[in-house]
Symmetry: C2
């Protein structure tokens, strides 16, 4: 069984265009590295009903669900109360979270006031997630991981739980970059995908001034078949009169022919 | 009545982390500029059932829905057949789209082959959306706008339909940047939000090496109240012993005190 995942980004500031989300791509890449398949990501508003509905829907459908945002000390941070409602849990002030926050603020001129104590309130039956950056913990409840929205904090939290995720076989990928149009190679790609049934082929046109072409991305668990299929794509490009090459991962900008 | 919107990004390449989506933020900003409220954005996989379900859900809930991706010439472009199913329409080869594509390819060495003709197939009862970049049109069906996924093409298409969108009063915003922690200002923000009921206040902590603080973003349709509330936030910051200032829009990086 392949583990699946969903991401929920909570924040009006993303929907208004003010802030660019970077968390989806970061988590997507991490999940891909360990062979967990991200199936869907949603950016939703700071609205309790929507948060509850999305959490219920995702936690039923996916192995793992990650939420980012809305667990800070202010009045607009409504994620935790929404999570508690989604799982029919009470809110409790967690003694261990209080202890960590106390230590964090000790010796600073920052007061551990009532607002900041809000960050120690979590739904009952949750497990704390360490926050190596700013102490205020995230938490896990059933298959939902609740993270902060600030990218650096979210990333720290994610790495502390990474070992708890059960991944699968990582999908390997090969990219064939070419100077042929997507519409020229389309028929051949269809034939190659029919021949190599376990390989997923995606095609992505690119445009630059004076330069256009198609990157063809092949994905499979089987490295040998991947190699064979990539060569078939390359042959097809050359037969069509084009140029192309199989590029290594992290070499995506190699598009000069 | 305020117009609302939803965005659907269709593409496995985003979910695998290979490609960073930029379309959500771009459209979000454009919608915000004309006073259309973006309520939700979803990134979904190239899966017919999911596409159909998401389109049905969003077109019922929102005034406008925008989809990006999956309308190219290749076998993995399944958006159009999914849209047709969602609206119970047949697929037709649109003569005007064929005409535009023929002109586009005339005089080039690119053949207008069967794969490329796929880009002229749209659901019946659709209206073409101009593509000022590469001719292959998008289309509108009921309240769904179907765009290409390539950002430059999507942006061109969006601008050709922009005048058809009915916006509302644009939410104005003011940002108060400060060097106080989010947890220190939390109580005051709650009080200010209670006093100015029509103003939405969001708070966004920031961290830089040797520098942290909170940006407080106030949003309202009423500029005078916004001004008054921003001043109230600034006063609260100063009473707390902090520094702060009201920054103008597009000056978000002004966080030096």
């Amino acid at each position: 069984m392949v583990s699946t995942a969903g991401i929920i980004i909570i924040g009006d500031e993303i929907l208004s265009g003010r802030t660019k989300d970077t968390n989806i791509n970061w988590i997507a890449t991490e999940l891909n590295n360990i062979g967990v398949r991200l199936i869907e990501a949603r950016i939703i508003s700071d609205d309790s009903e929507t948060i509850i509905e999305t959490i219920k829907n995702f936690t039923k459908k996916f192995t793992y669900v990650f939420s980012c945002g809305g667990i800070g000390p202010t009045h607009d941070d409504i994620t935790t109360e929404s999570v508690a409602k989604a799982f029919n849990q009470k809110l409790i002030k967690d003694p261990e979270a209080i202890r960590r926050l106390k230590i964090h603020y000790e010796g600073t001129d920052v007061e551990f006031n009532e607002s900041r104590q809000k960050m120690a309130i979590i739904p009952s039956n949750s497990i704390l997630i360490d926050n190596p950056v700013s102490a205020a913990p995230g938490y896990k409840i059933e298959n939902l991981f609740v993270f902060a929205g600030v990218p650096r904090i979210m990333q720290g939290m994610f790495h502390t739980i990474l070992n708890d995720l059960i991944g699968g076989i990582k999908l390997k990928s090969k990219t064939v970059s070419s100077n042929v149009g997507e519409g020229l190679i389309a028929k051949d790609l269809e034939k190659i995908e029919k021949k190599f049934k376990t390989i997923k082929i995606g095609s992505y046109p690119y445009f630059k001034p004076g330069n256009f072409g198609t990157s063809i991305v092949l994905r499979s668990e089987n490295e040998e078949l991947l190699e064979e299929a990539s060569k078939a794509v390359l042959s097809a490009i050359i037969i069509l009169g084009g140029k192309g090459k199989i590029v290594e991962e992290n070499e995506f900008d190699e598009r000069s022919f």
